[in-house]
Amino acid sequence: MNSTSSPVIETSDLVKTFGSTRALDGLDLSVAQGEVHGFLGPNGAGKSTTIRVLLGLLRADEGAARLFGADPWDDAVSLHHRLAYVPGDVELWPNLTGGEAIDLFARLRGTLDTKRRSELCDRFDLDPTKKARTYSKGNRQKVALIAALASPVDLLLLDEPTAGLDPLMELVFQECIREAQQAGATVLLSSHILAQVEVLADRISIVRSGRVVETGSLDDLRHMTRTTIVARTDRPAEGMQSLTGVHDITSGDGEVRLEVDGEHVGPVITRLAEHGIQSITAHPPTLEQLLVSHYGHEPEPEEVAR
């Protein structure tokens, strides 16, 4: 599987402008063979634009993009034999059924494995006999996912693929991605939810305002996964700041709020327990919190709006 050392996806200094908007601003991305690569960023950061360039639908203004060592614009058709794509907002033909759309995509890609297809329909709990106009957003998303997963491909380009899926389906999706990875596929998984990517990704690139600001394995980025803990204790919890990895403590009114680096959560909980915990909540940082804490300012309004 890992016979080739060259990356499956490689872009360097990619620039794409739409009028006065600079959607991609020198984006460097590298995805190795066989890895699940989390492509993380707020809405409008340039994730979808990058994927469209990789699909050969958009032409980059500057920079280079290679897919399996080939040019995504010039060699689009031959490259598309090897990949499947799931957009974040799936549009289907209202008068075709979901089943028809799945078969169509599979056949356009080359082969239709009917057994695999019906197995996936079962797992995702999709009724393929309904016309697409009656599907909810989640069901349209399932159609695109099943169509992509039904054919054996070398690369999955997934652009916020689980938007609108319920948590159970999210689990099924995670299973399917692991299976695809075991079968040797490379996955580019774009998302704006850190927790989702954490579960699956071997490596993560964080994109913001059209450029990759951080890239590495999960361990490399461990410093970013800082947990927020809010606890109400019988006695005021003092001396927490002496523990390693604890930041930004505020307390008062019997309540303490602090942030702690991912690998140091255990000692903090132990110490809090000594003060008699009445209630406790802990949650991982949102991407926005991360971006604010690491890059010093709020996401630009245009990013959020798009």
């Binding site: 699909l55 689009a76 549009e91 006999t129 106009r133």
Partner: protein, 561 residues
């Protein structure tokens, strides 16, 4: 269900209700809460659409009133043209033909054109009711509204109130504008009331169909079928006898015509649409009581779980997507062609007395030949309109993101574009061929002249390359500058329409004629077929397609700037 209804019942008697959400209709009960607010809301949403419909109806009245004296300057000319309305074929398409011996401008207006006012009013109400009831439920917006202080029946009631307001406006506008044509008051009021009450009857019909299906398209489709059947029954009934036969009375579309405006001026036939409106609305409310929000009384049919092998390629997909438009447009163009073909004998009969202006359009010498050539051009620009519509679907595929999904598979951009262009082209050729055959069959059938059949077919074949130039132009526009597709395409159709119908009457300069591709082929069957212009037209069409596909290959897809 009963518990949810009885619970709010008690709150109604308390004065805690806020004014705006309070029930405002006389129906009473919390099932109608919020109707007044919804009425205002619907009127606001439709503040362009409904006035446009009513103005359209009014314009139709003004246009006919102004055009009749132009086409037939004296009442003698009118009498010469009256066989067009009073013969059986004429009655099929315009109504019972009261007051044709001799006709006056007002009776000619009532006999020849008002049927289409009633038809349009029915259509307006079908769309209005479906849009505000079933479409809202299907999209889930109705749920959002119902979660507020609104009752089960508020939406339907409000939609019917809006329909009532619109129909009243249509009545006033149509009657008033008919008066400005110097038509007599009672007849004008009858025409106006006929428009309003027919509209109300069909509002009732679509209130029922909106209960039946979960989908707004099926709901308006069912109501459309009722309208179509009403038209068919009336056509057969009116064809049987002048003044209509017993069969006519079974069609809601025949009732307003039976008031015989400007001739007998009778009011009582209008009781029938009133009764139909009352009964259908009552049934609709009863049905609505028996169903859940968003549910239909007819079960939705499941579709195929798997695609047929023919859907396995982009070509199959394009054929599948273009199939509906080809059938719909083709059917419409075919019906219009057949109707016009059936008029051939009437045309020939009244040729001697035909107004000079009309004769010019068809060519005075060989009237039947000129008419066939005219019908070919007529079918030609309608098919060109189909082509513009069909090529626009490429753009909507792209804008919606569906093209992106297809192009993410190993499908070349050119193949994708070509598949739609070919499907459209094949559809256009089929439409023209079938229409040519049908026009020929209709015309030779009514005249008893066999040679007309071949002439009509040949005339349609002859304009085909000119029609396909539209495909070339549209493909070029879509491939190179998609934003220009709609303006350029429809402008071309408008030019073809104008040159084909009016240019000869208006003595416009030659260069305007040359803008229409349909002006280049020889006037078959009046003239012999000329191959050179046909070859050039075909080349232009082909060049447009090729350049358009080259442009499509070079440009980006779904680049929203």
């Amino acid at each position: 269900m009963t518990t949810t209804r009885s619970a709010p019942q008690s709150t109604r008697s308390t004065p805690r209700h806020r004014g705006r959400g309070a029930p405002s209709t006389s129906g009473g009960g919390t099932a109608f809460a919020g109707t007044g607010t919804l009425v205002r809301f619907m009127l606001r949403r439709d503040r362009i659409k409904l006035p446009a419909w009513v103005c359209g109806l009014g314009l139709f009245v003004v246009y006919i009133g102004a055009a009749l004296p132009q086409i037939a300057p004296t009442e003698d000319d009118l009498a010469a043209a009256s066989p067009m309305l009073s013969q059986p074929i004429g009655r099929m398409f315009s109504g019972p033909a009261y007051g044709m011996t001799p006709p006056t401008y007002e009776s000619f207006f009532a006999g020849g054109y008002t049927l289409y006012l009633y038809l349009l009013a029915a259509l307006m109400n079908i769309l209005l009711i479906t849009r505000h009831t079933r479409l809202e439920e299907q999209s889930g917006r109705a749920e959002l509204v119902r979660a507020n202080v609104t009752g089960r029946h508020s939406r339907l009631t409000a939609a019917l109130v809006v329909a009532g307001i619109t129909n009243l406006a249509a009545t006033v506008v149509v009657a008033g504008l008919a008066l400005t044509n110097d038509f007599s008051p009672t007849g004008s009021l009858l025409v106006g009331a006929g428009v309003g009450l027919t509209g109300m009857a069909f509002a009732g019909v679509s209130a029922i169909t909106a209960q039946l299906s979960e989908y707004s398209r099926s709901a308006s489709g069912l109501a459309g079928i009722v309208l179509g059947v009403a038209f068919g029954v009336r056509a057969l009934g009116d064809m049987a006898e002048q003044g209509g036969s017993t069969l006519s009375w079974f069609s809601p579309l025949a009732w307003p015509g039976q008031t015989a405006p400007y001739v007998l001026d009778r009011w009582w036939p209008l009781l029938l649409p009133v009764a139909l409106a009352v009964v259908t609305i009552a049934v609709a409310f009863a049905l609505q009581d028996r169903r859940d929000l968003g549910a239909g009384l007819l079960a939705a049919r499941p579709g195929r779980a798997e695609a047929t092998p023919s859907l396995g390629t982009v070509w199959g997909l394009a054929a599948r997507l273009q199939r509906g438009p080809v059938l719909a447009w083709g059917f419409g163009i075919l019906v219009l062609g057949v109707v016009d073909g059936l008029f051939t004998q009437v045309m020939l009969d009244s040729a001697g007395e035909m107004p000079e202006a009309l004769r010019q359009v068809f060519g005075a010498e060989q009237l039947a030949d000129g008419y066939m050539s005219f019908l070919a051009v007529f079918g030609g620009y309608l098919t060109a309109a189909f082509i513009v519509y069909a090529v626009q679907s490429l753009k909507s595929e792209e804008d919606s993101g569906r093209a992106e999904a297809v192009l993410a598979t190993p499908t070349a951009r050119v193949t994708w574009g070509l598949s739609h262009v070919v499907a459209t082209g094949v559809g256009a050729v089929l439409i023209m061929l079938v229409t040519g055959l049908a026009v020929g069959a209709a015309a030779s059938g009514v005249t008893g002249t066999g040679s007309i059949f071949g002439d009509a077919f040949l005339a349609h074949l002859n304009v085909l390359p000119a029609v396909l130039v539209t495909l070339g132009v549209c493909t070029l526009a879509y491939g190179c500058a998609p934003r220009l597709l709609a303006p350029v395409g429809w402008a071309l159709v408008a030019v073809m329409f104008f040159v084909g119908n009016f240019a000869a009457l208006l003595d416009v300069p030659d260069w305007i004629f040359r803008l229409s591709p349909l002006d280049y082929p020889a006037q078959v069957p009046v003239e012999d077929i000329a191959w050179r212009p046909l070859l050039w037209l075909a080349l232009v069409a082909l060049a447009g397609v090729v350049l358009g596909l080259v442009g499509l290959r070079r440009r980006q897809i779904s680049a929203r700037s």
